[in-house]
């Protein structure tokens, strides 16, 4: 009986350990925010160019969406690589609950994450943009798959291109399905970010958000099992690292088997020789190789070429 009481006590102590000690040098704290939160015009095309001319309306817009726990920074290298151009716009969306602090992140759901994408999409459609392209990585790919599965784009202009970079469908960590059971005991999970990454990615991952992550990945997987058809005029390409410690490469197989174009053909898939998750972001990695640089360049070039 004493042992049982001791176990209950340990369990309750562990269960209560849901609040990490947050250093303000982390994004999770109260000092660092994603820059898009106080300078939307710098990041969102709907704010930077809200009254497009007729020719601007037909110009391609990339809506660049980052992954779980990340920020707009994840696509900054693509923007830097693009430089000043008249050929297309890049609109960097910050997912709901991201880029602010631990409490905001903890209380956000996958629907909040997704709303930021659809809000920017709808703003662009409303002000007249017609050539919209969704450039997504990791969890934002999953959010787009969910939109496709419920025919979200049937009531609006369909995106011209959808790019899925290292999409999350199957997690590499196969214990994620147990998060509902063990999550309340853990409270949160600490990530292994580098010091610089801690300024742009949350260091602490609340178990509530991991449950949301598992929920949306499960929804997307089941939708793929049932089959998804792309809207008319929409093409989709998957770019997947062949080794990925975060999202299992087998997710590319599920997307390939689960999606057909409107003409009932297969989608495009490129298996990339990389062991990085979201290999298109190289800043602040512990080490990168020439092949990593090459992969990034090839993909950036391909994103733009597919606009034509």
């Amino acid at each position: 009986m004493k042992k049982l009481l001791a176990l209950c006590l340990i369990f309750s102590i562990i269960s209560c350990n849901d609040q990490p000690i947050i250093d303000d040098s982390y994004l999770d704290g109260e000092l660092i925010f994603d820059a898009s939160t106080y300078n939307q015009a710098e990041y969102l095309t709907s704010y930077s160019n809200p009254n497009p001319t007729d020719s601007e309306k037909d110009k391609p817009v990339f809506i660049a969406c980052h992954g779980y726990s990340a920020t707009t920074f994840e696509w900054s290298e693509f923007k830097e690589w693009t430089g000043e151009t008249d050929s297309y716009y890049i609109s960097q969306v910050l997912l709901g609950g991201h880029g602010s602090n631990y409490e905001d992140f903890k209380s956000s759901s996958w629907l909040d994450w997704q709303n930021s994408i659809t809000e920017e999409y709808e703003r662009l459609v409303t002000i007249g943009y017609t050539n919209i392209n969704l450039l997504t990585s990791s969890t934002s790919c999953t959010l787009i798959l969910e939109l496709l599965s419920r025919d979200y784009f049937s009531n609006t202009i369909a995106p011209k291109n959808i790019y899925l970079v290292d999409p999350l469908v199957i997690p590499s960590d196969k214990t994620l399905p147990l998060i509902g059971l063990i999550g309340p005991m853990l409270g949160y999970v600490e990530s292994a970010n580098t010091a610089e990454e801690d300024n742009y990615w949350y260091h602490f991952r609340p178990q509530e958000t991991l449950q949301e992550l598992y929920t949306i990945s499960k929804i997307a997987r089941k939708a793929l099992e049932e089959g998804i058809k792309l809207p008319v005029g929409c093409s989709l390409k998957v770019y997947k690292s062949i080794q990925d410690p975060t999202t299992d490469p087998v997710g590319a197989v599920l997307i390939y088997n689960g999606i057909r174009t409107f003409n009932n053909t297969h989608i495009d898939v490129e298996m990339v020789s990389s062991d990085l998750h979201v290999y298109t972001r190289l800043s602040f990695r512990e080490s990168i190789s020439e092949i990593d640089d090459e992969n990034q360049l090839n993909s950036f070039t391909d994103f733009v070429e597919r606009l034509n």
């Binding site: 997690p171 049932e226 089959g227 080794q243 410690p245 490469p249 298996m271």
Partner: protein, 194 residues
């Protein structure tokens, strides 16, 4: 008169006692027969398996216990379960097959409810459906442990359910990505030999 009644009662008691003794003897003999006559056991059944966070994979299960080797306690078996007979039957799920050899030990011989533990060794194969994915691992050795309970409904019909843990899984860097660690399975089987 009293003596006559007493003798009648005595003979009745003696008759009843003799009858009971005879019936009890039959039960004991039958029980001894069951306990002492060792026979081979061959259970053949249908296995239904659900991986935590992934697919239903169903198939066949066969197990055998020899009369001279821990009879009715130690079983050697073979299972084939596949998503082809589960989630992939009518969906785009990956078609994957598990071929498993096993050794199972049952406790509580001659009881209806029996706990068991099982060691599995096998081979996993996934069909990704396109050459595009030849760069990914799609096969693996399976090693797993199961712990569960079996219940014998009638002499030949048995239901067993267990919790299983796969020691080798995919992790994004190597191994098939749809090989998960935790699963639950139930098998309903029929003894062909007894």
């Amino acid at each position: 008169m009293k003596l006559t009644n007493f003798l009648k009662s005595l003979s009745l008691v003696a008759f009843i006692s003799t009858s009971n003794l005879s019936a009890q003897t039959d039960v004991i003999l039958s029980d001894l027969k069951l306990r002492n006559v060792q026979t081979d056991i061959m259970n053949v059944g249908i296995r239904i398996q659900k991986t935590s966070g992934l697919y239903w994979e169903n198939g066949l299960d066969i197990e055998y216990s020899n009369k001279s080797l821990l009879n009715d306690k130690l079983f050697f078996g073979f299972s084939y379960v596949s998503s082809r007979l589960g989630t992939a039957l009518s969906s785009n799920a990956i078609k994957q097959d598990n071929y498993i050899l096993s050794a199972r030990y049952y406790a509580r011989k001659n009881k209806k409810l029996r706990p068991f533990s099982k060691f599995n060794l096998g081979y996993f194969n996934a069909d990704y459906g396109s050459e595009l994915f030849d760069v990914l691992d799609n096969t693996s050795v399976i090693t797993s442990l199961e712990f569960g309970l079996s219940y014998t409904f009638i002499k030949k019909l048995k239901l067993s359910s267990s919790f299983g843990y796969n020691f080798i899984t995919g992790n994004g860097m190597e191994g098939p990505g749809t090989l998960y660690p935790i699963y639950l399975q139930s098998t309903i089987s029929w003894n062909l030999k007894q």
